[in-house]
Amino acid sequence: MLSLLLTLGLGHAADADVGGYVRVMTRPDFQGGDGKLGYWNLYGRLLNEGPWVALQLNLDLLVPDPGTDAVWSRVVAKLEGGSVWATDDGNGVLGDYRLSQLYVEAGNVLLPDVTWQVGTLWQSFGDLGLYDMRPAQIFFDTVGLSGRYRTDRAELLLGFGDSGYRLKGAEYNTVFTPGGTARVRLGSHAELGVGGEAFFEPQVTGNRYAPHSTPDLAYEDFLRGEMVQAWLQDHPGQAINFPDPQPTSAASYKAIAYAGFGGLGPLVWNNLFASFRRLHPDNTVTETVDGVDYTLYVTDLTDQRYELLVGDELQLRLVPGRLDVVWAGLFGRHWDLDNTLAPSDHNRWYASTVLRLQGYVSDTVHLLAETSVANEVSTQGNAYRLHVDSIFTSTDGVSDTRGLEYGDSDTRTTWQAKAGLVLNPLGPGVYVRPSLRLLYGLQYSTQNNAFGNSFVETLDQYNEFGNVERHWHHVLALEAEAWF
């Protein structure tokens, strides 16, 4: 696709430009891990993320003429993925990459100072750099049309489109998605923004991929994958009368907010992002009983999942040219009002804070130190295994082979520290790239073996590999990161 667009551009003497991002590393792990210090970037993205490559082609079809209302247009295509030869188990296979963005922009068509965009519509208020997270983003799932009006002080974006393929994949059904954002700059030291999007999936009788609900299903049976079995036990010999799915509609939404301020003394900038969303419901699960596959429609069992996410990041220039500090915090709360029985990613809260210091020995030689503390709490029973023999215990040390809990604690607490040498050819700055880093990372987690691994967890007497109790984890990292 990129080659095609480049060829198109050269043929019409248009301006083409390739930008992108690369992150590549090796992290020898002598404790049997997969090269990441912990499970995810709640503990800070550093040493907890794998490789990533993004290539973005920008092709000007009509170059903007500065200061005029002349029409301009361009094509943007972004290819990205998380695998690089010899750095991960994918070994750079192209199946790990996707064309994640493709859109055409046109400016000054119909309305002056308005930019129209057709294609993928993703928009974000900004980034929590230490977490590599973007809580305040919309249209991540949407293909459609947007119009953006921008002045020096304000920006308004309105759009609509379809999120069906992103949300439902091969079980596509149209998910109409309108939304928008508004952002205003207050003086030279503050900004505010709000936005949101809604997803509506209409009832379509006769379309098996449209939302349906199979009646008379119990949530506990859904969790165990025993809905059909339970129904057949209640209705012996009546398999032919298994209830038909009933068509319905589905809706979900997301609201986002942003506040930024800075440029005051050592405070470079502070970004506060928040989002609240109702997740779009699932459509089907499949159960097999007596060799027969049953497709069950679970819209009404999965339509009350909510997520709140709040994140803040503060950048300080403590000693100009010598020491910069970035401090971030994140809080998340997930509810699943359908599930009142079992722990899951939809019933939990988590909070963490990350502090990074970067000192400048010279323009290009820097020292980096970072630490983080995180707490993850399941609000619906145990979800974490704290010890090597946790498999034998549940609440109060009682084994329950039919229990819906997992492990022996509802809380996982994680502490990480990272330190090392950074070479920055372009000079000082926590986020100045490219960066070449030699880092050592240390993690303590209350959970046993809290990092990606291939350990055998069974306590079966025939386990040939044995088990190990381990709460400390060390990783050495050699990595490079660049935007271009």
Partner: protein, 178 residues
């Protein structure tokens, strides 16, 4: 920490001095920043002009920044380099060299957590006595800003280190021929 010392020493190693003028040469410097949103021409940010001045001073040149009020209106009507250089000559006040940095920053996209801008730069160095001997480089500098509120001035400031490098290369050619 002893293992760090060799790396730190390498990082602090002295660099070879740049090619220098044999005697101090008065040099006029102007930066002209255009915007895709406006026809107005403004002076570039201090970080950009400071970077140019620093590069010139390191080569035994005596840089003097021209006040943007003296060329902003004229440049708004002159969209190409040649007439702009001719206009600057009228304000050279006996200087031997002209340095003109014309830059147009343009927001590109949000890219993996950063705001990508592309700064289109035309950098010219010319003897004031003969503008036909002008040396010019035209290049694009992609820069990556952390925040949405950072706009054209911040993009120009972020491009300064790359502009410095191009200026150094141009000066090598110009000073070598003097």
């Amino acid at each position: 920490m002893r293992w760090l010392m060799p790396l730190l020493l390498v990082g602090c190693a002295p660099k070879a001095p740049p090619l220098q003028a044999t005697s101090p040469l008065p040099t006029v410097v102007a930066t002209a920043a255009a915007s895709t949103d406006s026809r107005a021409i403004t002076a570039g940010p201090v970080a950009l002009s400071d970077a140019l001045v620093e590069t010139l001073a390191a080569r035994n040149l005596t840089p003097a920044l021209v006040d943007a009020a003296g060329y902003a209106d004229a440049f708004a009507g002159q969209r190409t380099t040649a007439p702009r250089l001719r206009h600057l000559v009228t304000q050279a006040d006996g200087a031997a060299l002209l340095v003109l940095c014309e830059a147009t920053p343009r927001f590109d996209s949000q890219l993996n957590g950063r705001f990508r801008w592309v700064v289109a730069v035309t950098l010219s160095v010319s003897p004031t006595q003969d503008l036909d001997l002008v040396s010019t480089e035209t290049f694009d500098v992609p820069v990556f800003l952390s925040f949405h509120h950072e706009r054209e001035p911040e993009a120009l400031a972020a491009a300064a280190p790359i502009v410095q490098r191009h200026l150094s290369r141009l000066l090598d050619g110009v000073l070598g021929g003097l």
